[in-house]
């Protein structure tokens, strides 16, 4: 299959290793991947914060950039949910019927990585090897908007060497919420405190999820507490193999490195 990578702006800027891991994984599964360099940002931050006038050109741009894609896959439940769920709303609220038709069509071809693997490619074992104790945080948009369900867990259960430990109150939001964490920092922090406590209670070496935004938040809290617990994107776990993991823990995310540096 010819897959267009939708590398979200956050991944592009701060977590390039996640996009590379996703590309590596999809290639290993026998698919062709393509990154259209014209893409930048889906417009979620603007739209969700109230800058809908500014978001519309970004939405139109996304549609142009991905118009010819056979299938679009992103390492982010949140951005995919935005494209699938809210692009149609954006078009509707702007009264643009042509855009509405186009984004409805586009939404059907846009997938979050774990749902793409399970629902479209129908693979549960991607041949990964990751010898660590890991807990999984289901991010809100993947869980509630995309309904990816247990897709990430099924993938993780088939990773060799990996010990999956259950996260208490996993369905609770980590408190990131994009600009929510900036506009309501105290409430966001109170939510984060509980999430970080839950993660630490599992005794996991790292927390994984399908969204670097949530992981950046949780990781930021874990790092501030010098917990020694890292965060790592699901794509990086699924992309790693025995040869890669040997003698290296580079895939346990940048945040753990910084936490170790603090210790």
């Amino acid at each position: 299959m010819k897959i267009d990578l939708f590398i979200t702006c956050l991944n592009d800027a701060l977590f390039p290793q996640t996009g590379l891991a996703m590309a590596r994984l999809l290639r290993r599964l026998g698919h062709q991947v393509r990154f259209n360099e014209a893409q930048t940002c889906c417009g979620q931050m603007h739209f969700n914060t109230g800058y809908q006038r500014e978001a519309l050109p970004l939405i139109r741009k996304f549609v142009n950039d991905f118009r010819n894609a056979e299938v679009i896959v992103a390492p982010s439940g949140s951005c995919v949910a935005f494209v699938r769920d809210l692009y149609p709303k954006a078009a509707e609220w702007a009264g643009d019927d042509d855009l509405l038709r186009e984004v409805t069509e586009l939404g059907k071809r846009t997938y979050e990585l774990s749902e793409f693997l399970i629902k479209v490619l129908k693979v549960e074992d991607v041949g990964a090897y990751y010898p660590h104790r890991v807990t999984y945080h289901p991010t809100c948009h993947a869980a509630r908007l995309l309904r990816v369900g247990d897709a990430p867990l099924r993938l993780l259960k088939n990773v060799r060497g990996l010990t999956l430990v259950e996260l208490p109150a996993s369905e609770q939001c980590c408190g990131f919420g994009g600009t929510f964490s900036v506009k309501n920092p105290e409430t966001s922090t109170a939510m984060l405190a509980d999430k970080v406590q839950s993660v630490m209670s599992t005794g996991a070496e790292c927390c994984t999820a399908g969204d670097n935004s949530c992981l950046m938040h949780i990781g930021g809290g874990l790092s501030r507490l010098q917990s020694g617990v890292g965060v790592v994107h699901l794509a990086e776990i699924l992309a790693s193999t025995e040869s890669m993991s040997a003698g290296s823990s580079e895939t346990i995310g940048a945040m753990q490195v910084s936490a170790e540096a603090l210790l």
């Binding site: 360099e37 006038r53 990131f176 910084s258």
Partner: protein
């Protein structure tokens, strides 16, 4: 006083900063919402057709709202036919005037109240007090809040922020009750003794309404304690204040709500008391019945196609109990009798998006979506939050914070509109972040972003962005 109204005194972030300091309140809330969440999950799981029921509930409310004017006129005719009187109130002031005039015309010094949230919306208690009439709340939790001189912090459990020991002390102080323990039974008994006397001696009652049935002119209240039954049957005069969105066309429509409401609100299969009354019946119950139909901003909500579904709300409070923001910040942070996710969309809309403080409420959400999942009438609260943000943002007053945010957002959009600008900005950021990075992480950011780093570290921009690495090592497959 439980009359809190819907005008927040402060912006949400500011109010939440204070409420978050109250560790006892946070523990009480966490305990209460966790318990009810789990109970509700079980109660809902018992029904095999819950999703179909939700859809039915949403459809029925939408149908009623689609020809609301007609339904209300039918309701008016039916109520009058059965000997009741109907009053139309455009706003809070008009509704208060109607009720206080009625109470005063009967020489009432005290009135009893049940299901008061709509009357709290219009700040009825304060209006009555100005006319020398004391309103007595008869819902146990409302009574607690009233005695404490507090405001409700939850739609269904207004005293959710208080624990048993706090309530025992309050009853000792205010009711002079000799309470040896803080057992719920003992506390309830103390309230019962106090209230019974009021039920038997008060001639005028004010109630809210859960539903009204247009075809028969019937008003309905769903409750747990029996105080509603007392208020609706014992006094001579009954005045019901009802938001105009509560009307349903016919009797059959009410059945799904009798399943949806108790399970969503109290996690019960059926609530203990459901009362229906139509007009007056000679020799039985109140001999005078007044129905006050309150608009107070609702027709404006109705006129907005994108946000209209807000009016489906049946005030069950399921969205509050699952909301992580509500659980931490508490109901008082919302500054309105409608707290939590539904309050965050309802309050600013009722105020026509003109209230500076209420207009911070649509941002009091991480958009996690738990409220939408829980809503028994499928109100897509996250979507409406986003819609309202879009409506409010262009009109936000230009204080420094809003100006800085607006410039930042517009600049970011400009950058994102061209990939070369984005790449350039990343390179700039990488160079500029130098002094902020310590031990591989950013621990403090300046300006608006400072709140983030008060409790969280940020990863620094890496040496190369994805697009740069892709050019070097990825390359497209052809």
């Amino acid at each position: 006083m439980s009359a809190g109204g819907i005008h927040p005194a402060r912006p949400f972030p500011e109010a939440a900063r204070d409420t978050l300091q109250d560790a006892q309140m946070r523990r009480n809330l966490k305990h209460a919402t966790t318990t009810i969440r789990e109970k509700r999950f079980r109660a809902v799981a018992e029904l095999p057709d819950w999703e179909a029921l939700r859809t039915r509930g949403a459809e029925l409310k939408d149908a009623a709202l689609s020809d609301l004017a007609e339904q209300l006129l039918t309701l008016e005719t039916a109520v009058k036919r059965r000997g009741g009187q109907v009053h139309w109130a455009r706003d809070a002031a008009e509704a208060c005037r109607i009720v206080t005039d009625l109470a005063a015309s009967h020489g009432a010094r005290e009135i009893i109240k049940v299901k008061s949230i709509t009357s709290d919306e219009i700040e009825l208690n304060a209006a009555l007090e100005k006319r020398g009439i004391q309103a007595i709340e008869t819902d146990l939790a409302e009574l607690i809040v009233q005695l404490a001189g507090d405001t409700p912090s939850h739609i269904l459990v207004p005293a959710i922020h208080k624990n048993r020991a706090e309530i025992r002390d309050l009853f000792r102080r205010k009711l002079g009750a000799e309470l040896l323990t803080d057992e719920p039974k003992v506390l309830a008994e103390a309230a019962r003794l106090y209230l019974r006397e009021k039920f038997l001696s008060t001639k005028v009652a004010v109630s809210g309404a859960n539903f009204a049935i247009a075809e028969s002119g019937t008003v309905c209240i769903v409750e747990s304690e029996g105080n509603g039954r007392m208020c609706l049957t014992l006094p001579d005069v009954l005045i019901s204040v009802m938001g105009i969105e509560k009307v349903l066309p016919q009797w059959a429509d009410i059945a799904p709500f009798m399943q949806l409401l108790p399970r969503s609100s109290t996690a019960e299969r059926m609530n203990p008391y459901t009362s229906f009354w139509s007009g007056v019946t000679p020799g039985d119950g109140p001999q005078e019945f007044h129905l006050v139909l309150l608009d107070n901003g609702r027709t404006d909500v109705l006129a907005d196609e994108a946000a209209r579904q807000t009016l489906r709300c049946i005030r069950c409070s399921a969205c509050l109990n699952v909301c992580p923001v509500y659980e931490r910040a508490g109901g008082h942070a919302y500054g309105s009798v409608y707290p939590g996710p539904i309050g965050a969309i309802l309050t600013p809309q009722l105020l026509q998006l003109e209230d500076e403080n209420a207009n911070t409420l649509p941002w009091a959400s991480s958009l996690c979506g738990a409220c939408y999942d829980a809503c028994p009438v499928k109100i897509n609260i996250p979507e409406i939050l986003i819609y309202l943000r879009g409506q409010i943002t262009p009109h936000k007053s230009h204080n420094l914070e809003n100006t800085v945010e607006s410039i930042a957002m517009k600049t970011a959009a400009w950058i994102f509109n061209e990939p070369f600008r984005f790449e350039g900005a990343l390179k700039l950021a990488r160079t500029g972040q130098g002094p902020l990075v310590q031990h591989g992480a950013i621990h403090a950011l300046p300006g608006l972003l400072g709140g983030w780093t008060s409790s969280r570290n940020l990863p620094p921009f890496p040496a190369k962005s994805f697009r740069e690495l892709w050019r070097e090592e990825g390359q497209n497959d052809e």
